[in-house]
Symmetry: C2
């Protein structure tokens, strides 16, 4: 049914002719076609209009030739569905005018009927699948409960999300109740995405790395484990907890199909910590895509050799930056597609 | 000469009766006495007036009973001395109105006569030492060349310092020339601090963790190595590269006396990576100081047991937050002072 099922075969643990390649935030601001739509429609118009979301999702497939599409959407739609107002100011980031910091605030947060509240996402998935017509698989996604809690409590982006951390330390019972509601909603949300046609789903814990190893288990990992468990037998799951290298073994133990790693860990070390079974995804430094082309190609090649053949999905270590030239993004994809692995001596030395 | 030389004995590798304790940013906004001075004097007035800097440096010694003083100053005074304008807006952070991004910009950046350009720092050290009267040792400090370059190029704080990274990738020759100038200036600066009376110096690479392991070596570590080399035989050096856990072995190999670690690594793992010889400093999560007291005490005890007795300086994993209650900071210090280690079985399980 799928013309290119490379990423599905890799996620199933099968040997493949080359690693699949896609890029986090591949549908976005670095593409001129996207910027044109951005001038005409607000962020949430783009997200909530299935035809626009599908169009944006498809742009990098045509432009770059990646091996998977990832739905154009935002992790914060889940908070909207749970009763919170979320604004997205262009070039500023998300703002929640009424963040949740007390028992009284928490009364506003409920587990919604996602099929109804987020129907536009499932419509966008159905439409995208139809337009993809089997060209490549479609990845759905959700934010991890901890990362969503960060926005729910801090109310905007932060370097450290200290308000949320303090909230968890001072009102742990309330924090866990909210994390459970986020988990229940996310499970329903991801199951509905699968039902609508998502071939793979990725769980983004963008702020997991702000927690120490014990707190990561308590406030993030235990909830992600429940989500992964609920998706078993449905579709392959990719778990990306940025900065949480210290818990790679614990992530691998969930039986998740794939773990995303950022650029601040050597591929060999990530493999050692995660064990030999799980597929690894990553981990090119997004800022490194700004490197002039000849050196850029060397760096990409170096990363591919460091991961070695098999059980690897080539990707960035975080989302693509908006000022990356399209031909540099294209070079990333093409370099992966044309790569020939060096011998095992080279691999082991990286 | 010193009434309390606990930190010096620990840094010399000697067995001590208990771990020494101090806190990064211990002289600062969480103290009411500091906030009073802040209402009367601007940030750089406080930094550049030796009597004020000395007064602020001493505040936490009286208030908390820490085992070391650290000079109240700012890493960015070095950029001012090198010819750049640095503004510090309260509650906003540093701003360089004319950041360095080209060959032409770089012409404004020179290696100064630090003894003259930063005389107020050395005056503050002499005055502080006089007022301390041997009570506890005084720690001097400097920012690492990479971290200073981040401010020099980005011109303000950033989550990712992508402008600086891109600058390094696109104009590596110019970046290395600036890093060398920063290194030369920092060496002179730290040697003068020692001459003025600093008993220990700490090198802060606050943004080292934004670089991948290879880039960390190229753009940060090789310059810190030169600084550490230049200070050999002078005073003990503490190296704190936040987030750069992947290079603990390489940091230990410099022969530095002590390595600071942040809270995102288990103490046992840090010890394994850094080897058995070097002293480790850290690593309590600064946000965890907001925890209610009974649980807070448990968490501090847990950290101390995880490091185990010897070769450990108790500290936070980054600077203290401004909203930490003083009695919580005091609890941190007192818990360390009164700690009795659990048996080695407990230690190894953490």
């Amino acid at each position: 049914m799928l013309k290119n099922d490379l990423i599905l075969r890799t996620l199933a643990g099968l040997a493949t002719e080359r690693p699949p390649v896609w890029m986090m935030r591949q549908a976005g601001r670095y593409l001129p076609e996207y910027r044109k739509l951005r001038e005409k429609y607000s962020f949430f118009e783009r997200v909530q209009t299935p035809a626009l979301a599908a169009e944006i999702t498809l742009q990098p497939i045509d432009q770059l030739g990646v091996d998977a599409a990832i739905l154009f959407s935002d992790i914060l739609v889940v908070l909207q569905a749970m009763g919170l107002e979320v604004q997205l100011l262009e070039n500023t980031g998300p703002v929640l005018p009424d963040p949740v910091r007390s028992e009284a605030d928490a009364k506003r947060v409920y587990v919604p009927d996602v099929e109804d509240a987020l129907s536009y996402v499932f419509d966008a998935i159905r439409l995208t699948k139809q337009e993809l017509n089997g060209l490549v698989p479609l990845i759905g996604f959700a934010g991890a409960p901890w990362t969503l809690l960060c926005y729910m409590v801090d109310g905007k982006g932060s370097k450290t999300f200290d308000l949320t951390k303090s909230f968890c330390y001072c009102q742990p019972e309330l924090a866990h109740r909210l994390l459970q509601r986020l988990t229940d909603t996310s499970i329903n949300y991801l199951l509905q995405q699968v039902k609508a046609g998502a071939d793979v789903v990725q769980l983004f814990d963008s702020w997991g790395g702000l927690l120490g190893p014990e707190d990561f288990e308590i406030f993030s990992m235990q909830y992600m484990r429940k989500i992964i468990e609920a998706l078993k037998g449905e579709v392959p799951v990719i778990l990306f907890a940025k900065g949480a290298w210290h818990s790679l073994a614990s992530m691998a133990a969930t039986g998740v199909s794939c773990i995303g790693v950022d650029w601040c860990i050597r591929p060999g070390m990530a493999r050692e910590m995660a064990g030999s079974q799980v597929v690894l995804q990553g981990n090119f430094d997004p800022a490194r895509l700004l490197t002039p082309k000849p050196e850029l190609k060397k760096q990409i090649t170096r990363m591919l050799n460091a991961f070695g053949p098999g059980k690897h999905i080539a990707n960035l270590g975080h989302g693509i930056l908006q000022n990356v030239p399209v031909d540099h993004a294209k070079l990333f994809v093409d370099t992966v597609k044309n790569h020939v692995y060096q011998n095992s001596f080279e691999k082991s030395s990286l």
